[in-house]
């Protein structure tokens, strides 16, 4: 019994805060897309961002790996820290940051290369493999983690674009985890997939929680309820409510959250 308690406590102290955002504001030219968002995202947890279209959830997600830097008119202010380190510090190189914070996009976007080269892309760029054997191992491990190894192992040299939609998305996940990130951002990863592929990817997300902190933007409230432990509800650029997923879906505190999850606004 005592052992169990001990393990439990060890588990709960492992729930450190991975990402901490304070007073984040995003402007696109004249549009104020994100207003004063404060949020603490736990490590080894799936956090879901939900909210109606245009509420800023994707924009906020893209702040966490500074992908908004690639958009000329976007301006981000406020404080975002990963493991206590300010990622908008001028000393931080966004290129290095993005190696640590992987991203999976809405539409599967495999490169026009072989399956192997798609997964090996990140490790090659960051020099993570000392030799071919190392690289082979990374590729296999990533594909296994992304639950694609069995389907892809006999056709590693085939183009990644030849896979089905769901396989392509898992390939993109494998590609993202091959660089050994600490955080994985997913921007509506299942919105272009059919229900079966969606179920596979969701199962995979639950697996990934053991190794990474996963942040997922989704339009589907059922999906948020299925895969996440924490949920944040965004509305008109504001973070309205952030709590345990169970609590958000059963006992929301804010009336706006309640009307969204019950389908009255959206």
């Amino acid at each position: 019994m005592e052992d169990m308690v001990h393990v439990d406590r060890a588990m709960s102290t492992e729930q450190d805060i991975k990402i901490s955002a304070k007073g984040v504001q995003v402007h696109y030219a004249d549009t104020h897309a994100i207003r004063d968002v404060d949020v603490d995202i736990d490590d080894k947890t799936v956090t879901a961002f939900i909210g109606p279209s245009g509420c800023g959830k994707s924009t906020f997600l893209r702040c966490i790996n500074r992908m908004n830097d690639t958009i000329d008119i976007a301006r981000v202010t406020g404080d975002i820290r990963i493991d206590g380190e300010d990622i908008y510090d001028p000393k931080v190189d966004p290129v290095q940051l993005r190696a640590k914070v992987g991203m999976v996009f809405q539409k599967p976007n495999p490169f026009p290369k072989s399956i192997y080269d798609n997964v090996a892309y990140g490790p090659k760029i960051h020099g993570l493999a000392r030799n071919k054997a190392d690289l082979d191992e990374i590729v296999e491990k990533s594909l296994r983690k992304a639950a694609l190894w069995d389907e892809a192992k006999d056709r590693l040299t085939a183009p990644g674009t030849g896979l089905s939609g769901g396989q392509q998305q898992r390939l993109c996940i494998a590609r993202a985890i091959a660089t050994a990130p600490e955080v994985l951002l997913m921007d509506e990863p299942c919105s272009a997939l059919d229900p079966i592929a969606t179920a596979q990817v969701e199962e995979l997300i639950d697996e990934l929680r053991r190794s990474f902190s996963v942040v997922i933007v989704t339009h589907s409230m059922q999906q948020a309820a299925r895969v996440s432990q924490k949920t944040a509800f965004f509305h008109l650029g504001n973070l309205v409510e952030y709590d345990d997923t169970d609590k958000i879906f059963t006992n929301p505190q804010d009336p706006r959250t309640e009307s969204y999850i019950s389908g009255r606004i959206g």
Binding site: M67, R98, K100, M103, N109, F111, Y121, P159
Partner: protein
């Protein structure tokens, strides 16, 4: 064809009159309510005008072909025939105007026919050109051994007979000049395209892209003057003479360099469009993995755009091979087999011009060789174009 001008003008006038007649007749048939008509008055009008013009025009074309084959002359009978065709077409379509007549369908068919005609003209002309070259080339090979033409290493035409007409020195000059031109144009054009599409802001892009394309609008003779007066002497004084490579201002290097400048907008403009067509999702994917912008371009964007870029380069190569003016003024007219890029050489196209200008007798091999040269060049550029199309088709749609 002088005598056909009047009937054709009459037909045209008839078509215009028919157009308005049909319109008013359609309105009259409709009895004021246009919605009772199956086809609109405009469609009736268009149908009438086209029915008036197209059959006589087709007849004129057929007659022209017939006259070319038999040497016949247009006479009053033929004028009468085409006038009759026009009047009949006009009258029939005017009489045919009823509330339920399908002028819309007929007008669409006339237009479809016109479009098909226009596209077949282009194809038929190509075939015609090939055949006319083929006949003359056969003539040439009747008088001159084809083995000497393709394998002889010397080119020295002599209008009193006994000429050496080997294509190899000319082909060598053509390929050498084109190679140097592409050596300049491809990297510069490609880098310019990458800068414009990936790095430049929208405002700079909107100024720089047309500015580069202005280069494509300069006539090649002007480039030739530039080569003759500026680039040639400059290259000679700065490179050729100090390095002991010759005293000639006209050289392969001069022509190649200037031709390269001419080809830059070709390569950059086409590549720019192709690079822009690579989906933004590819770049996001790569940047999101922590790749730098230049790594993204080298490893994702360029490979994705490669088939199109290869196509652009091969198109530029066809242009380079067919270029004449710059070579005449920049590289000279001496057929020579040499590796020295500062030596004057010449190309196939220049020799075609020089064999066909002046007092020439169209039966001697010295003149007919021009057709054999032209056909060889045509086969080479056609091969390049087919190869470019093949590359582009094979690798297209690797990304969505």
């Amino acid at each position: 064809m002088q005598s056909l001008t009047t009937p054709l003008l009459l037909i045209f006038a008839l078509a215009v009159i028919g157009y308005f007649l049909a319109k008013s007749r359609a309105l009259h048939v409709a009895g004021g309510d246009i919605r009772t008509l199956v086809s609109l008055p405009n469609q009736h009008a268009l149908n009438t005008a086209l029915s008036t013009i197209v059959p006589p025009a087709a007849a004129v074309l057929l007659f022209a072909l017939y006259a070319r084959l038999t040497g016949g002359e247009p006479n009053w009978f033929f004028s009468l025939v085409i006038l009759g065709l026009g009047v009949t077409g006009c009258a029939l379509s005017l009489i045919g105007i009823k509330t339920d007549s399908r002028a819309r369908t007929y007008a669409e068919r006339w237009i479809l026919g016109l479009l098909i005609f226009a596209s077949s003209i282009a194809i038929l002309t190509t075939i015609g050109i090939v055949f006319s070259m083929l006949f003359e080339t056969f003539n040439f090979f009747g008088q001159y051994d084809w083995r000497d033409f393709f394998f002889s290493l010397s080119w020295s035409p002599n209008f009193r007979g006994n000429s050496d007409l080997g294509i190899i020195p000319l082909l060598w000059g053509t390929l050498y000049v084109s190679f140097i031109a592409l050596l300049f144009a491809v990297p510069i054009g490609l880098f310019a395209a990458i800068y414009l599409s990936e790095y430049a802001g929208p405002r700079l892009r909107s100024i720089a892209k047309p500015a580069i394309e202005v280069l494509a609008g300069i006539p090649t003779i002007v480039y030739g003057l530039f080569a003759l007066i500026t680039v040639g002497p400059l290259l000679r004084d700065v490179f050729a003479e100090p390095m002991g490579l010759g005293q000639s201002a006209s050289s392969v290097m001069t022509a190649g360099l200037v031709m390269g400048i001419m080809l830059i907008p070709f390569v950059s403009s086409l590549s720019d469009d192709i690079i822009n067509a690579v989906p933004q999702a590819m770049r996001d994917g790569s940047l999101g993995l922590g790749a730098t912008p230049s790594e993204t371009i080298r490893q994702v964007v360029i490979p994705a755009a490669l088939p199109g870029i290869v196509g652009a380069v091969l198109l530029a190569a066809s242009r380079a091979i067919g270029e004449t003016m710059i070579v005449v003024l920049g590289a000279g007219a001496a057929a020579r087999l040499s590796l020295n890029p500062f030596e004057a050489m010449t190309t196939v196209t220049v020799k075609i011009v020089s064999q066909l200008t002046g007092d020439t007798d169209f039966a001697s091999p010295e003149t007919l060789v021009a057709f054999a040269l032209g056909l060889t060049l045509f086969v080479i550029t056609l091969g390049l174009n087919v190869f470019a199309l093949y590359i582009v088709r094979k690798y297209r749609e690797q990304y969505e």
